[in-house]
């Protein structure tokens, strides 16, 4: 597996985090996509998108979520991709994901 976040993947650190911590971190990169798009820097926005996908794939590979949660995670990935490319299929703006992930970040902080 050729992850961008090799250290997190290989050390197993990502898989020690709670789901809220994982998704809260994915949300940080989603926020960066929005922020770089506002600054009209598509190259940086794309890099942030790739990092978000990378973290989301690490989350999807986490066997702890291979139950009912996996469906939401896989759907989340598909709709996020659509959203990045213009949201033609599911009509969901990136800003929606910002709110979605923020809730997880809040929970992660509450538990820490």
């Amino acid at each position: 597996m050729n992850y961008i976040h090799k250290d997190l993947a290989e050390s197993g650190r990502w898989h020690e985090m709670s789901l809220s911590e994982q998704l809260g971190n994915v949300g940080s990169d989603v926020d960066r996509i929005i922020s770089w798009r506002k600054k009209e820097n598509e190259s940086y926005a794309t890099n942030a998108f790739y990092r978000a996908l990378d973290l989301l794939d690490l989350t999807i590979s986490d066997k702890r979520w291979h139950g009912p949660k996996l469906k939401e995670l896989c759907r989340l990935r598909e709709v996020l991709c659509d959203s990045f490319f213009g949201g033609e299929l599911y009509n969901t703006p990136l800003e929606y994901f910002s709110k979605y992930f923020y809730q997880f970040a809040l929970v992660a902080r509450k538990n820490s």
Binding site: L53, H66, L70, K71, C74, V79
Partner: protein, 161 residues
């Protein structure tokens, strides 16, 4: 109107095929749904995600298409295990289904199958789950021609005319 009738005819045809396919056998224990309830049961059954690990006929694919997107069926192919999942409303649902069967995400590729099309146009490489930069696939398509060939080969083996 003509198009709508044709759509209804396709639905009727798919439902009757589903009745044949899913009618409870004599040895099935449990209550048998009837009337409208039975139709809903059939629709739910037909929109379930199916694992294709041996073969599926074009007719079955057409039935599934009729009850879903009309002309096409979404599928996710596992190029390592040489199987596919079909019938989901989203590729993500089929991806999840195969992951739970022990697949590796790197081996899963989303396609659309058009059962009414000629063989050369039957497969469309277009799915959001294919966006996988860490595998150098940065679009919804399958960018590697080699991989496309492999997917076509697997799908051709799994679909019977």
């Amino acid at each position: 109107m003509g198009e709508a009738r044709s759509q209804n005819e396709r639905l009727e045809c798919a439902l009757s095929s589903a009745v044949e396919r899913w009618s409870p056998k004599p040895n099935v224990v449990g209550s048998i749904p009837t009337g409208r309830e039975f139709q809903i049961f059939l629709l739910a059954k037909m929109s379930e995600i199916n694992l294709v690990n041996r073969s599926i006929t074009l007719k079955e694919l057409k039935d599934i298409a009729s009850l879903g997107f009309g002309d096409m069926v979404k599928a996710v192919v596992d190029v390592e295990k040489r199987i596919m999942a079909i019938g989901g409303s989203m590729h993500a649902d089929e991806e999840k289904f195969l992951l739970e069967q022990g697949a590796s995400q790197d081996d899963l590729w989303g396609i659309n199958i058009y059962p009414d099309s000629q063989e050369e146009n039957r497969i469309e490489f277009d799915s959001m789950i294919n966006v996988r930069p860490r595998q150098n696939n940065r679009s919804r398509g399958v960018e590697s021609i080699e991989l496309q060939k492999k997917i076509i080969e697997i799908v051709d083996l799994l679909i019977k005319e």
